[in-house]
Amino acid sequence: MGKQEGLSVLSNAGLGREELISALQKKVDQETSGDGVVIFVDMFGTSCWQTAKKVASEMCGDKHKIAVITGVNLPMLTKFFTWRASFPLSQLVPLVKQEGEKGIRTES
């Protein structure tokens, strides 16, 4: 797909609770274009998820719409980048979730 604009990556490695929150707040603040911000997290219930949920609840408002999605996988990301210009956040998030679920298969 090539390099994507409006994409930030953040690791929790070595960051304390407050440092992680302020690092994520900065990233969200930088993303001012478009309809809002989607925070992709690998695993539900982790420190990353707690941070995302906290930042979303504190910063969500007139300036930002923020959604948090866990269980991130590549199908989710590719669909997100393909569709994000075409759908508002409220429709994009369920579509991305559906793609992520469809991307998990077993073969035997």
Binding site: G14, L15, G16, R17, E19, G45, T46, K54
Partner: protein, 164 residues
Amino acid sequence: MPILLYRVDERLIHGQVVVGWGNSLKFDRIVLVNDQVASNKWERDLYLACVPPEMKATILPVDEGVAKILQNGFEGERIVILVDSPFDILRMVEKGVKIDSVNVGGVHFKRDRMKILPYLFLSPEEISAFKRIISAGIKCECRDVPLAEKHDLSSLFDKLSHKL
């Protein structure tokens, strides 16, 4: 109630505790002892959401946590006590809780904290709190996840004594 572990971990209930220590110790209940979390419904719900269905969790302020431990509450369950700082361990000890050893998990980078291990950064106040815990005869063992190497905090302090 067998208390399997007293853990200091700034992230409180998260993956390392639930998945890592959960699988290794097979505990039934996490008792999160923290005044701030206990007093805030939003934070309580946030941490309780991180507990998998096969595990139970209770969130108590320090005084109530101490009372519960001293009354031998949670009869028949295997318990992990979770706090986010050495200060709360000291408060528990001062209120009469008998602790043999403390597992020191993640306390991460922050200004004024010095690096002790990749997952352990401590401020001068935290270092002196841990030193008081150690001089009360409590072993402080650093280990973020069960299969990681153990480090005795007292020996680490000795090695770093020129900087402390």
